[in-house]
Amino acid sequence: MFRYYAWLAARSLRKNPALTALMVLAIGLGIGASITTLTVLRVLSGDPIPAKSAQLFYPQVDPRSINDYHPGEAPAEQVTYPDGMNLLKAKRADRQALMTGGGAVVLPDSAAIDPFSVDARYTTADFFAMFDVPFQYGGGWKATDDDAHARDVVISKSLNQKVFSGGNSVGKTLRIQSTDFRVVGVLDNWRPTPHFYDLNSARYSDYEEIFLPLSTAMELEFGRNGSMDCWDNTADGDQVHSPNCSWLQFWVELDSPDKVKAYKAFLNNYSDEQRSQGRFPRPNNVRLPNVMQWLDDQKVVPSDVRLQVWLSFGFLAVCLVNTIGLMLAKFLRRNGEIAVRRAIGAPRREIFAQFLVEAGAVGVAGAVIGLLLALLGLWGVRQQAADYASLAHIDPTMLLMTLLLAVITALLSGLLPAWRACQVTPALQLKSD
């Protein structure tokens, strides 16, 4: 029966090519737009570090001035240098790292390469193990190197390619600003998306090329990037070391709920302790979000992207209603044919099936067009200036999603018309013709 219905559907669809094209195109456009925007949303709201995102936490305390205090507001988004060092030294978590972004100029030995500036991360020893950073050669530095202000540097795969032609460069010397550093590690490809551990810079692009100890970078006064929030007076103007300027990111790894609870208690104790020393004038305000909570809190997905998803689904809804209307009119024009089939014994179920096959055919064609349009749309997204543009690619999950969306759309667009068609009463129709 199915083959017969498919043949009937093909015949009927061919009879009105313009109308068929309109229905298919409308569904295709709706699906194409929805899949394009959903893919972008999915890429942007993905988990940057799926294996560990539930064990990595971003401790927040509130050392800010009582001036401009609004009860209930979020604590400071970054930590001050004194607080960062205190929390780091306390070692209350399984792992912890203090960090900031920066920029430095690399001077390759080879005269063929001009000096160039790179994005840098100044951090502490646990960074690499805590974030599961993959190494091609060597590894990170040790905690003792932090204390010793070691001239150690970890470089990215692309920088290694550029300066050392991609070989094992561990132990080689790299001149940064006016200081010689020893390469201790070369990263493999590593690009957590978004750049969750520091959301100050571009969140989906601009990854660091060099990593070096925070203590070293501060001693050498390397340039820092990011935002700094200061309050009250910063005494001698030394903002970097000031207890009144927050500018560092601090991350900890805690692998059990008990440890999370204990760490939160520790942060509260720390705030109390600081208050007893005359700091932290505000009431305790402690938070300990994990990676996904922090990304959510920071509204990391651009609101435009969410808006686009809603718009595309609104558009799909209009296309869907449009197709239902057209299909309904089309099916009901074939009252005579339906009446004849019913009169010679076809049950309602069969009529319903026949028209659902026709609606399904439109849905499948629409899905194919939709997928093509989505590929085109994503290509268009990749041509844009937004920092996430290059990430917009369709993946197997989204392919499945397209299929699902198409089936749902086709069923929705076919159900009502097919049901109305099978309601046709044979006698009345035959008489009126």
Binding site: L22, D236, G237, D238, G325, L326, A329, R333, Q384, A385
Partner: protein, 408 residues
């Protein structure tokens, strides 16, 4: 025209009529809000900067040598002197931030030293004696800075000096802080110690970056602080036609003054502006595409459905024609039918538009949909409906009376 028979006929195809009405309602609700979003985006990208955008270029550099080798204040002065001497340079300055640039310096200001909450958060430009001229700012009241008012940035950074004694603010900031009173001579506080007096007001000066809302875009001030190398970027003013050549010449000149540095970025300010708003323009384009697609799909839907109805009713039309109805009456019949359905859709759509607007306000901190977008959306859809139904209705009107005598 009597609408009773039309309503009676519509009752017989309730579902199809309802579907068209729903489609119109959805389109109307979406289109009203999207039109508003488009205007909002375009308005944002046309925000006045207050500076001579078409005459400015900027250069950002980074040094390679260890800091503290030479006095960065002296080096900034040397560089500035060298850049000013380039051919075609009308004026040159070193400043901490530029409109639409990638870094921004912001400060809370108060109206009294013991005030608990800041009165406004302001973008702070550190200006030397050439900044007003170079930027081309329009001073609408008061004066520029006096030579003895300038501080050196390195002293400010080390906390060695009191806050600046004078400040120039934008008109927007003056109104925000002092309402309708004359702001000149009034004091603001940058910290809890000494007052800073307002000595001048400029018409506009946009902050380097601002949120989706334009409310805070123009709250900036100029402080008389001479930047040092390392914290400043150079801005040069020249003839629009000379900008590209000047960028190249300036890069070369800086390299010859001190070879140990690299140029991080250099661009025409008009291009910087254009890049800053690129996302808004792309979004506006996308939204326009949505409106156009919605209109096309809806129109084609109406054409399709109306054509079916005309075909289905050929015999009835023929009978009416045979009984004496004119072509115009048949035409008007279908036009009125469409008008009725679209009107129902628009009524529903307006409710929907307000619901969506309320939701957008919550999600995206947008203002409420202004009332006048509703009649615009309604008119557009009425026009669309009439346009779409015209061809099928004309086909209906051309059905010959003799059709009545034929069987299908």
């Amino acid at each position: 025209m009597d609408i009773a028979p039309i309503l009676a006929a519509l009752k017989r195809q309730k579902t199809a009529a309802a579907l068209i009405a729903i489609e119109i309602a959805l389109s109307c609700a979406i289109i009203c809000n999207v039109l508003f979003l488009i205007t909002h985006r375009l308005e944002r990208s046309h925000v006045p900067s207050g500076v001579a955008e078409d005459e400015l270029v900027y250069i950002r550099t980074a040094g390679i040598g260890a800091s503290g080798e030479d006095d960065p204040m002296v080096r900034a002065k040397e560089d500035l002197g060298a850049l000013s001497s380039l051919p075609g340079v009308k004026s040159a300055t070193i400043v901490n931030q530029i409109p639409f640039g990638h870094s921004s310096w912001n400060t809370g200001v108060k109206l009294a030293p013991d005030q608990q909450h800041t009165s406004a958060n302001v973008g702070a430009y550190y200006a030397d004696e050439h900044l007003l001229d170079t930027f081309g700012l329009k001073l609408i009241a008061g004066r520029g800075f006096l030579p003895d008012e300038f501080l050196n940035f390195e002293d400010v950074l080390k906390g060695k000096v009191d806050p600046p004694s004078a400040v120039i603010i934008t008109k927007t900031m003056a109104t925000r802080l002092f309402g309708n009173e004359d702001a000149i001579g009034k004091s603001i506080y940058l910290d809890d110690t000494k007052p800073t007096r307002v000595v001048g007001i400029v018409e506009h000066l946009v902050r380097p970056n601002f949120g989706s809302d334009l409310i805070d875009a123009d709250t900036s001030m100029l402080l008389p602080v001479r930047l040092s190398l390392g914290y400043g970027q150079f801005v040069l003013r020249t003839d629009p036609a000379n900008r590209d050549a000047l960028i190249a010449a300036a890069k070369k000149k800086l390299k010859s003054v001190s070879p140990n540095r690299i140029v991080l970025s250099a661009d025409k300010l008009s291009d910087t502006r254009s890049k800053y708003f690129k996302q808004d323009r792309v979004m506006a384009g996308l939204l326009i595409a949505v409106v156009v697609s919605l209109l096309i799909v809806t129109a084609l839907g109406i054409v399709g459905l109306a054509s079916f109805w005309v075909q289905r009713r050929r015999r009835q039309i023929g009978i009416r024609r045979a009984l004496g109805a004119t072509r115009a009456q048949i035409l008007h019949y279908f036009q009125t039918e469409n008008f009725l359905i679209v009107t129902v859709g628009i009524a529903l759509g307006m409710l929907g538009a307000y619901a969506i607007s309320g939701w957008l306000m919550q999600q995206y901190e947008l203002p409420r949909l202004p009332f006048f977008y509703l009649p615009i959306g309604a008119l557009a859809l009425w026009a669309l409906g009439q346009l779409a139904v015209l061809a099928p209705a004309l086909r209906a009107a051309s059905v010959p009376p003799a059709t009545a005598t034929r069987t299908v």
